[in-house]
């Protein structure tokens, strides 16, 4: 589920590279949950990490940005699509269960 949240942020605007705390805000995930997901996606080749290029007189350390790879975009879309289909299939059953529960 958390992986899907991260992927959906990337798929929303595939051309945009995003950094860690930006993704934390967008997904409400903690650093403890987010970074293992990012690492796994990077190892699987779905996303790539690139270091920010700062001017020489920059007053802050460079950040690491992540963006979807050419392989990652269709894979991410397919993964999200699968999850949506699964949710759609489960929805009538859930409605039926709710109705049954309500009597």
């Amino acid at each position: 589920m958390a992986k899907l949240e991260v992927l959906s942020v990337f798929v929303e605007d595939p051309a945009t590279a995003r950094y860690g705390s930006e993704l934390m805000k967008a997904t409400s995930l903690s650093s403890g949950s987010l970074y293992p997901i990012l690492q796994r996606l990077e190892d699987d080749g779905w996303i790539e990490g690139v270091w920010e290029v700062l001017p020489a007189d920059a007053q802050r350390p460079r950040r690491r940005y992540y963006r979807l790879t050419a392989m990652g975009l269709p894979s991410a879309r397919a993964e999200i699509g699968r999850a949506v289909n699964l949710a759609r299939r489960a929805e009538p059953k859930l409605v039926w269960l709710q109705m049954g529960w309500a009597g």
């Binding site: 650093s31 987010l34 293992p36 460079r62």
Partner: protein
């Protein structure tokens, strides 16, 4: 009896004031503690990562930490999260065992080495000897320590190697 109760109430009041003063002082120290503690936690977290990721993640996390604004306690929470992340990443890594923790095993070098045997009685450094033995047994030269045992007039040599290397031709347990 009434006197005892009033002393108790007064004491409670004193403790309450002292506790709130202490809490206030601690609260005032949070930014300083956070500034000092959070990078230390991130550094520790990075050391738990697989070697290939240590420098990269430490730099990344420290940059994020530095850019964090607002409540200072969030910096510590972020750093603690990084610690958890490091443990999870290491667990997910296929060969997550750090090199210094590689299980080592004794492997007997079953290769007869006239030259080395000669050198054992001569002037050869332990490193050279280890390299010769390891190379002769088809093991990496960086393998661990060597041991020389003599039993019933027969000389035998052992090297310690990572357990994963056992099974390489030329070496046997």
């Amino acid at each position: 009896m009434g006197g005892v109760i009033s002393i108790g109430v007064a004491a409670d009041g004193v403790y309450g004031v002292a506790a709130s003063a202490m809490f206030g002082m601690l609260l005032a120290e949070v930014p300083a503690i956070s500034r000092w503690l959070a990078p230390k936690v991130v550094h520790r977290a990075a050391r738990r990562l697989p070697k290939r990721l240590r420098a990269q993640k430490e730099e990344e996390w420290l940059a994020e930490l530095r850019a964090m604004e607002g409540i200072k306690l969030f910096r510590v929470i972020f750093a603690l999260g990084c610690f958890g992340a490091a443990i999870r990443i290491r667990r997910a890594e296929p060969s997550s065992t750090p090199s210094h923790e590689v299980e080592r095993a004794f492997v007997e070098v079953k290769v007869v080495l006239d030259g080395v045997a000669y050198d054992l009685n001569g002037n050869v450094s332990r490193e050279e000897l280890r390299a010769s033995l390891a190379a002769a047994a088809g093991l990496v030269a960086s393998s661990g320590d060597i041991f020389e045992l003599e039993s019933r007039g027969e000389r035998r040599w052992f090297v310690t190697v990572p357990r994963a290397e056992i099974g390489i031709p030329g070496a046997g347990i």
